[in-house]
């Protein structure tokens, strides 16, 4: 006989788990444009969203997709889109808009090989830096990176929660393998899931400022049609939302945007570690590479090597504090990534020459194997 818990255990694809996570967070609008390897998210939500009274729309391109997502979010719906590298490039202007206009929304980037059309069906981590720096202007990104089907589900919920809490776009940075692989996952009951919703104003409309400056850096958010009648613009604006050219108001706005991320790093950043207690060597890897690294570390441990895994679940903001803290015990950090070396620059920035940092890069469309990582550990140690 099957118990209630057994029933909840399902074999899901990463992309589907991401979509399930979105539904569980209360996402009620998806706007997107098909692109491999993310399309299953759109297909799944086209079927599921109307069942819960939500809406799916296929737009004419990715620029329009994220525009519709922003429009729906300011009108009160939790909204998202999903894409891959080429579509993500097209979204950059509007990611900046969502950041500037402080609009919560979630963008899933299931990475494939680049540059350009690149390798549509192959795995890569080639957008690691685009996520951080893609849009123009000073910008502080939040990006979460799952390595398993379960993490796809959990981190999508977390992405919605962070975006609602901080009124900012949040990116879920997946990759082709994480998106397409199937694993067993136990979906929690809706009651067990912590869902955060944007803070609503408590003041009457006459006092309301859509971009209020306050000590928490996050302003309560009314939606269109609720009687508040405010202005939203991508032009640099004052707390009321009107374009400004006053230097002190400009500085205040840009500081607010920066501070709401930078003053909350400890809330936003999560790092998963394995065997780090006594490690003097660490492998630093995110996404699917962290899975191979986990295997490699167990191989090393069998040979009595003190190796551990650092897996940033939040890659932006970068886990500076964690690395600074762990640095003293380490003789070597190996950064493994599916590109020509993007995150290694960040690790070196934090390490500042205090420990050896070595890279293991693969960008030929194949995964980094546990053996490759293990060999690298032996070679560098």
């Amino acid at each position: 006989m099957r118990t209630a818990t057994d029933q909840k255990e399902r074999l899901l694809q990463g992309n589907q788990a991401c979509a399930e996570g979105a539904l569980a967070s209360g996402a009620r609008l998806f706007a997107g444009y098909p692109i491999t390897p993310s399309t299953e998210i759109a297909e799944f939500l086209a079927r599921q969203l109307p069942k819960v009274g939500g809406k799916f729309i296929q737009m004419e391109d990715e620029i329009a997709s994220i525009a519709a997502v922003i429009g729906a979010s300011v009108t009160g719906l939790k909204s998202m889109t999903a894409t891959s590298g080429p579509g993500f490039s097209l979204m950059q202007e509007h990611i900046g808009y969502a950041y500037m206009a402080e609009v919560p929304c979630v963008i899933v980037d299931v990475q494939r090989g680049g540059p350009s059309t690149g390798l549509p069906t192959k795995v890569a981590q080639s957008d690691t830096m685009q996520v951080r720096w893609g849009t123009h202007g000073d910008y502080y990104a939040i990006a979460l990176a799952p390595s398993s089907v379960e993490e796809c589900f959990e981190l999508t919920i977390r992405a919605f929660n962070l975006s609602e809490k901080y009124r900012t776009p949040v990116i879920v940075l997946m990759d082709e393998v994480v998106g397409h692989m199937r694993e067993k996952i136990k979906l929690p009951d809706p009651g067990e899931i912590k869902v955060i919703n944007r803070m609503k104003p408590t003041v009457p409309p006459e006092w309301y400022q859509h971009f209020e400056i306050n000590p928490h850096f996050v302003s309560p958010m009314a939606s269109f049609g609720e009687g508040y009648r405010f202005n939203i613009t991508g032009l640099t604006h004052n707390p009321e939302g009107f374009p400004t050219d006053r230097p002190e108001v400009i500085r205040e706005k840009l500081d607010k945007l920066k501070n709401k991320i930078c003053h909350n790093v400890s809330d936003i950043v999560q790092v998963r570690e394995e065997f780090m207690e006594d490690a003097n060597v660490a492998v630093f890897a995110y996404g699917i590479v962290a899975r191979a690294a986990g295997q490699a570390i167990r191989m090393a441990r069998e040979k009595r090597m003190r190796v551990g895994l650092i897996q940033p679940l939040t890659i932006w903001p970068f886990p500076d504090e964690y690395i600074e803290r762990i640095l003293e015990q380490l003789d070597l950090i190996i950064v493994a990534e599916l590109n020509q070396g993007q995150l290694i620059g960040e690790v070196m920035r934090v390490v500042r020459g205090k420990t050896r940092v070595r890279g293991l890069f693969r960008y030929d469309s194949e995964l980094i194997t546990p053996d490759q990582i293990f060999d690298k550990i032996r070679e560098e140690k």
């Binding site: 079927r47 009274g53 737009m59 525009a67 922003i70 429009g71 049609g225 202005n231």
Partner: protein
């Protein structure tokens, strides 16, 4: 402010955002007045109106009016507005855009909004130029007219905007001018009432750049040009074809019925829930 009639005043964010960015004599303010009067006539509450715009002189309009306002990015207001409408179909969503905004950078969104037939009212201020960036030629600048990036005359053909909208599937298409304000007000009213995507193309004028570059005179001269070149569609049959050649038609050019997207999506929801 005494010069602004009471009705208009009621819908302006006077305390917050005046004076405005528009040049003296510009047609955009006239268009704004017509939209406000149409909304007033329809007795829409300010809370239920959302005005969405792109980037350009015309797209600055939402900043000044006391509705829910969304000033977006260059060319994309129809895509933002699609999300707004889908999220809350009870809202009246009016999109303000320019000829550059809607037809160059936003051309793809424009034809797809027409085709998708989501209930948006699009007011396109066609001043035949890129006003905000300094008078470059736009997709609606006539052949051989001067722009700052067409100093020897524009060698491209202009879009016939209304025809483009009709061909793209828009069920309601009208054309008015900044000169014919009473008619414009009515067209905006009809467009707002229309269930489905509606376009009002407004032939307007930019005396500061287009007018000066093309030696078309001041604002008054340009308004007179509009008066002399607009032929009401109802009268078109009576005008000999050779006299129509350099003119344009005004009024409701196209009005058909087609299922509206949000209403169709409600059926999708009902169907999905029935099968579940």
């Amino acid at each position: 402010m005494e010069l602004i009639p009471k009705v208009t005043h009621h819908y302006l964010r006077t305390k917050k955002k005046f004076p405005n960015v528009w040049c003296a004599g510009c047609g955009i303010g006239i268009v704004m007045g017509a939209i406000i009067r149409a909304i007033d006539k329809l007795k829409l509450s300010r809370d239920e109106v959302v005005m969405v715009s792109g980037i350009g002189c015309s797209s600055r309009m939402p900043v000044y009016v006391d509705f829910n306002t969304l000033h977006t990015t260059h060319g994309r207001p129809l895509a933002f507005a699609t999300g707004v409408k889908l999220a809350k179909p009870s809202l009246k969503v009016i999109v303000i855009t320019g000829d550059g905004d809607a037809l160059a950078i936003g051309g793809n969104h424009f034809i797809h909004a027409c085709r998708r037939n989501i209930d948006l009212t699009c007011i396109l201020v066609n001043n035949q130029t890129y006003g905000m960036t300094g008078g470059q030629f736009s997709p609606s600048t006539p052949f051989m007219k001067i722009g700052t990036t067409a100093p020897y005359g524009n060698r491209e053909r202009a879009f016939d905007i209304s025809k483009l909208a009709i061909a793209s599937g828009a069920p309601f298409v009208a054309r008015g001018t900044a000169y014919h304000v009473v008619q414009l007000e009515k067209l905006v009213e009809q467009a707002t009432l229309k269930k489905g995507f509606s376009l009002v193309e407004v032939i307007s004028h930019c005396p500061t750049l287009y007018g000066r570059l093309n030696k078309e005179g001041d604002a008054v001269e340009m308004l007179k040009w509009q008066r002399g070149h607009a032929i009401p569609i109802s009268a078109a049959g009576k005008v000999p074809p050779e006299k129509l050649r350099d003119k344009f038609l005004t009024g409701v050019l196209w009005d058909i019925e087609f299922p509206e997207y949000c209403e169709e999506y409600d059926k999708v929801i009902a169907e999905a829930q029935r099968r579940d």
